[in-house]
């Protein structure tokens, strides 16, 4: 099943299983939701172009026992809603001393989608991960897309920023039958290997796997690929366990590098796995320039598989 179908299944099941679930926002990309839209029309709203207000409305509703899924469409549009997401949703539980929880999902598509131009290619997940009180999910596979969204929409008590990379929508993968959830904070070892650990989430998971195949085929290097699934909570045990085993790590993320997710993870690894490290922790991020439009430039700045391969080669002795 495709990533988009898995996503749609999760949304539809959430609407079906819990009548507290409400959907505010039109999009979900190409996810096939027409049937759900009719069936649960009373709980589905198409708001005006007013991200700040409709995110805030979701937050207020969540405080009152509703479980909103907000569909923000392109992740850069969430910038409009940052005052509500960061200044209200993230703080309410702490500020109330544990009295007011905000079970809400802010769903958005992020990343370099291809000819989006800079204003439709952004990746704000580093800012959301920088914000205590928010959970951050960045699914890498169709199974993640479904399992994480179900958990966030049906089980979680906290606000979740849920980021899908646009280019994942048509990727395929196995998805367990029936309802199932993936609890946040459980990374997956997507590929085993002993020579180097590649840490990734979202779109970087298939890219890391592609890089790992190239490394194995062309260079005899066996990379272990960790799909983090969620940044907050972060599964340090799986990530650090792998790095302690391999002694080498490349962290890759589709966000800019300064205070980006690759840096955030590399700082943790370089500290906590220091004694195991045989080489520096390398980062492969989006290059430091506003994302340009033309294909060759857009491609150039992307955290492509070949850049991951090159980073691994820098730290794994040639074979």
């Amino acid at each position: 099943m495709t990533f988009g179908q898995a996503l749609a299944e999760a949304v539809e099941e959430a609407l079906a299983e819990d009548e507290r679930v409400t959907l505010i926002g039109a999009g979900f990309g190409s996810a096939p939701l027409d049937e759900a839209r009719e069936k649960y029309a009373a709980r589905i709203k198409y708001p005006p172009i007013a991200e700040l207000a409709y995110c805030g409305i979701g937050i207020g509703a969540a405080m009152c026992g509703v479980r909103p899924i907000i569909e923000l469409s392109t992740g850069t549009f969430s910038y409009e809603a940052i005052p509500q997401i960061i200044n209200e949703a993230a703080i309410a539980y702490s500020n109330s001393g544990g009295q007011t929880s905000v079970p809400i999902v802010f769903h958005m598509f992020h990343g370099i989608r291809g000819a989006g131009g800079v204003q439709h290619s952004g990746s704000p997940h580093p800012w959301y991960w920088n914000t205590p009180g928010l959970q951050v999910a960045v699914p890498g596979t169709p199974a993640d897309a479904k399992g994480l969204l179900r958990w966030a929409a049906l089980k979680s008590k906290n606000p979740t920023v849920y980021m899908n990379h646009t280019r994942l929508l048509n990727t395929r993968g196995g998805v367990p039958e029936g309802p199932f959830e993936i609890h946040f904070g459980q990374a997956e070892v997507s590929r085993s290997g002993n020579d180097v650990t590649i840490v990734a989430c979202g779109i970087q998971v298939p890219r890391a796997l592609e890089a790992a195949e190239t490394l194995a085929r062309d260079h005899g290097i066996e990379a272990e690929v960790i799909n983090l699934r969620t940044l907050q909570p972060l599964d340090r045990v799986t990530m650090l366990g792998s790095v302690r085993k391999t002694g080498r790590a490349v962290v890759t993320d589709e966000s800019h590098d300064n205070c980006g997710v690759a840096a955030g993870l590399a700082a943790i690894i370089a500290d906590e796995a220091f004694t195991s490290l045989k080489a520096p922790v390398k980062r492969v991020s989006t290059m430091p320039v506003p994302v340009p439009y033309a294909e060759p430039m857009e491609d150039f700045v992307t955290a492509r598989p070949d850049r991951i391969v090159a980073a691994v080669q820098e730290i794994v002795p040639g074979r």
């Binding site: 509703v66 001393g97 007011t100």
Partner: protein
């Protein structure tokens, strides 16, 4: 013209206003008398009590109230415990939010004050969300957002107003325009220096929202209006917009509130001439408590003795509340890390 409120209701309304006033005076005492106790800005509601008291007196416990940086007295009016409010304001363990929220964010979720934002306009979409929830759940709960004229400078006000009207959300936008000249309180409304509209209430009207204006120092006028609007919003009508106009208390001109005329003296109700010059005209024309007490005295619904007694008991209550707050321990430092996530 409204039918006068029955004497008992009138007295409890006046008492609530007095409690709000004395609460805020304790906050200013904290700041004045205890160095380092109030470490940052505080905002007091003095001069707006009629609006908050009358507005809240028609709400039930389960109704939702959203407020701003100027929240202390709203929380009290909704039923909040004075001691725990004051404890929150000075960051103590017994504060309504365990000392984590502070003056900017006093909230009492058990009373429908789920979260208080100090961001100008921040409460507006949250309130619309609560109304959306009430509508989805068919719960008949009312939602009132109290906010300042300043919020009409922020875009989020307009976005929220538009959605509230499009989705017909049962909420009341209660806008407190709190720096109006006394003679203009009852008119159609005046512009603010930071807003280009000739009258702020023209704006919600242009959005098609049912709009009212009221003299926010007139407790019974507010009461009558809010009784109607809250009842209608319980039936699912709305949204409604209210512009409530009050005149700035002289103690609110500096960068911190200050009791420029001393503590409120209840005798100004029948003898405003005795008020210190700095507050005299305000006590004559604009103090909602004095205006209402005077009206009740005139109407014979109240005697001077009863008023003095009432004030005495309120002062006693707030004295105890202040003591409670001051005696409440500081929260445990390492407890800071609790409550990041539910």
């Amino acid at each position: 013209m409204a039918v006068p409120v029955p004497a008992e209701s009138a007295l409890s309304l006046l008492q609530l206003m007095l409690r709000m006033r004395r609460l805020e005076e304790e906050v200013i005492h904290f700041q004045r008398d205890h160095q380092g106790l109030i470490r940052g800005h505080v905002h007091v509601y003095i001069g707006q009590e009629a609006a908050g008291a009358a507005g809240c007196s028609v709400l039930r416990k389960e109704d939702r109230l959203f407020t701003t940086h100027r929240n202390h007295a709203h929380v009290l009016a909704k039923g909040g415990d004075a001691g725990r409010i004051l404890a929150e304001i000075i960051g103590r363990a017994d504060g309504l939010c365990k000392g984590r929220a502070g003056t900017f964010h006093v909230a009492d979720p058990a009373l429908g004050i789920l979260h208080t934002s100090a961001i100008v306009g921040g409460c507006l979409p949250l309130a619309a969300g609560a109304a959306y929830a009430a509508k989805l759940q068919g719960s008949g709960q009312a939602t009132v957002a109290f906010f300042g004229d300043g919020a009409m400078e922020e875009g989020v006000f307009y976005e929220t107003l538009n959605i509230a009207q499009l989705w017909q959300l049962p909420m009341i936008f209660y806008m407190e325009n709190n720096a109006v000249l006394p003679g203009e309180r009852s008119g159609r409304g005046s512009p603010s220096s930071e807003h280009s509209a000739e009258a702020l209430s023209d704006i919600p009207q242009a959005f098609g929202v049912l709009t009212q204006h009221v003299d926010g120092t007139d407790a019974e006028a507010v009461l009558e209006l809010m009784q109607d609007l809250v009842a209608r919003s319980r039936r699912g009508e709305g949204p409604f917009f209210v512009e409530s106009r009050t005149s700035r208390w002289p103690g609110n001109y500096g960068s911190v509130p200050s009791l420029v005329g001393g503590d409120t003296d209840i005798s100004w109700a029948w003898d405003w001439q005795s008020a210190p010059e700095v507050v005299r005209r305000w006590e004559e024309l604009s103090d909602p408590i004095m205006l209402y007490a005077r009206k009740l005295l005139d109407r014979g619904a109240l005697t001077i003795d009863r008023l003095v007694e009432l004030d005495g008991s309120v002062r006693e209550e707030m004295g105890h509340a202040a003591e409670f707050a001051l005696n409440s321990p500081l929260p445990d430092a390492a407890g800071a890390l609790e409550y990041a996530y539910a």
